[in-house]
Amino acid sequence: MTREADVPGNPRKAGRERAATTGALNLYAIRAIYLFEMARWFRTFMQSAASPVISTSLYFVVFGAAIGSRMGEIDGVPYGAFIIPGLVMLTLLTQSISNASFGIYMPKWSGTIYEVLSAPVSATEVVMGYAGAAATKSVLLGLIILATARLFVAYEIAHPVWMLGFLVLTAITFSLFGFIIGIWADNFEKLQVIPLMIVTPLAFLGGSFYSINMLPAFWQKVALINPVVYLISGFRWSFFGVADVSVGLSLAMIGLFLAICLGVIVWIFRTGYRIRP
């Protein structure tokens, strides 16, 4: 027992000492991983960008233009414009998760992760590289979709800086979440199941297409369990200045989810969970 402290790769010890060495980040490694991931994305940029842009455009055509023209305003916002923040969030969530989970799952699956594991990089650097690239991609996609939406609906952004802040914070948080899924998944089905079975339903039920104030009182309470409600509400506030829940609460919820994801990732790297046998 007394020798435990000397065990190489000992979870507790390794974790503590790693924290001490992160003072000097391996910036070359972060850059290498980040650029590698971005290059992979740009190589297939058209495919990567086309599908979310096309599907979101369809939503604008169907819900915004066709149905929206027959709907009234919600909270003083025309329906076509009202759905924009929710749709951007929907893409942001799914793209962040799928980019980040694929980014780390693929090297695990192909075996090339050996190189990252054997490199002088800390958990922080690995996550900054992979999740950073995934977040960048989804922010870029989010902006592309916002630009696309402008072709269909006229809208203004009341608080552009806040809007960008929500966009970036959400992208980072869900990229971290995707990173965790990519580590956890040991087959392609598992990689798909959480985005498909949990995130997409939550995003749809999170008020992309309606204000939760339109729900019966009971379901409004239920909706408040859904974390995505806070994301969409805060994001929508940055556009139109109206929100289902207070902006502070939205930010706090994103912060909470971010902290949980960070905690899980620290634990993963301390224990080597599913990456180091």
Partner: protein, 316 residues
């Protein structure tokens, strides 16, 4: 001679409960070529995995040039280059991009001149713009070597470098390994072939069932273990070994042993291949004198398996 890699009482028990390494201690000297020999499942890859940070050790301690691999993982890992046993590459990347990536990952600033040197040395320069998926297996292995060398490591691990590699590439690879050694790089390689270890390594370690059962200078080990056998198929079976072939009658063959096998149809002569006087000439002369004809003969070296069997007997 200074020690560049020190492994002390290393143990590994996988989550399955399987004990892959048992109390392994080993010092690797700076600048040597060390061959790790052992049958499938002996624990070679596990040992390398722990040193390189791919596998978590369960017990013991590893220091790379004085840096503990857990406490001081950055300094330790920066010194190491690894060519793993499995061919795993980024299929869609180019040779150039993937090699350059490796250098950055290991915390070194760009140095395209160095990458070019490495690629040229491995005859990959003409392929630098090709996607890895379009390369042959042997070329992919070279790409993995290039990646391992991209950050100018002081210690290079080659886990079964000769698996799936043709004769020409193997020769090139060994030439490169020697050049690296001449440049001061310490090389640790695993192999199943004793000839390969014999040809390349300064020292050989034998691992079996997770235990390091022997570490020896190659020359010494070959002397100890390098036995050859000469099998003579006789024209007419012998009832027993004639007195004229008894041990003291064959003066030259001090260490050789002669036995009659296969119902008297074959003579098997086991001798030490490392000595000058194998005793073969004397044996054949004596056979002629005794009018013992043989219709054929075959010579074989003791295989790695024999060596393991011998070692295990010794270490039982």
């Amino acid at each position: 001679m200074s020690v560049i890699l020190s492994i002390q009482n290393l143990g590994k028990t996988y989550a399955s409960g399987f004990e892959a390494l048992k109390d392994v201690s080993l010092d690797i000297r700076r600048g040597e070529i060390f061959a790790l020999l052992g049958p499938n499942g002996a624990g070679k890859t596990t040992l390398i995995g722990i040193v390189c940070g791919i596998v978590n050790g369960s017990a013991g301690r590893v220091c790379v040039d004085g840096h503990d691999i857990a406490r001081d993982f950055r300094a330790a890992r920066a010194k190491i280059g690894l060519v793993p046993q499995e061919l795993s590459t980024d299929a869609f990347e180019t040779v150039w991009a993937t090699t350059r990536f490796s250098r950055g990952l290991f915390g070194k600033p760009h140095n395209d001149a160095h990458i070019e040197r490495v690629l040229r040395e491995l005859s990959l320069w003409d392929k630098r713009g090709d996607k890895i998926m379009t390369l042959s297996g042997g070329m992919k292995r070279r790409v993995m070597i290039a990646k391992a060398l991209a950050h100018e490591p002081e210690i290079l691990f080659l886990d079964e470098p000769s698996a799936g590699v043709d004769v020409a590439l193997r020769r090139d690879m060994w030439a490169m390994v020697r050049r690296l050694r001449d440049a001061g790089v310490t090389i640790i390689l695993t192999t199943h072939y004793i000839e390969e270890a014999e040809e390349m390594a300064d020292r050989i370690g034998v691992i079996h069932g997770g235990k390091l059962i022997l570490v020896e200078d190659t020359a010494v080990l070959m002397q100890k273990l390098g036995k050859k056998q000469l099998t003579l198929h006789l024209q007419h079976p012998l009832a027993q070994l004639p007195a004229g072939l008894a041990r003291d009658a064959l003066q030259d063959a001090r260490d050789g042993t002669l036995v009659l096998a296969d119902d008297g149809n074959t003579l098997i002569y086991t001798y030490d291949s490392q000595t000058e006087q194998t005793g073969i000439a004397a044996l054949l002369r004596r056979l002629a004198e005794l009018n013992i004809d043989f219709k054929g003969l075959r010579s074989s070296e003791s295989s790695l398996e024999d060596i393991f069997v011998n070692l295990l007997k010794e270490h039982a």
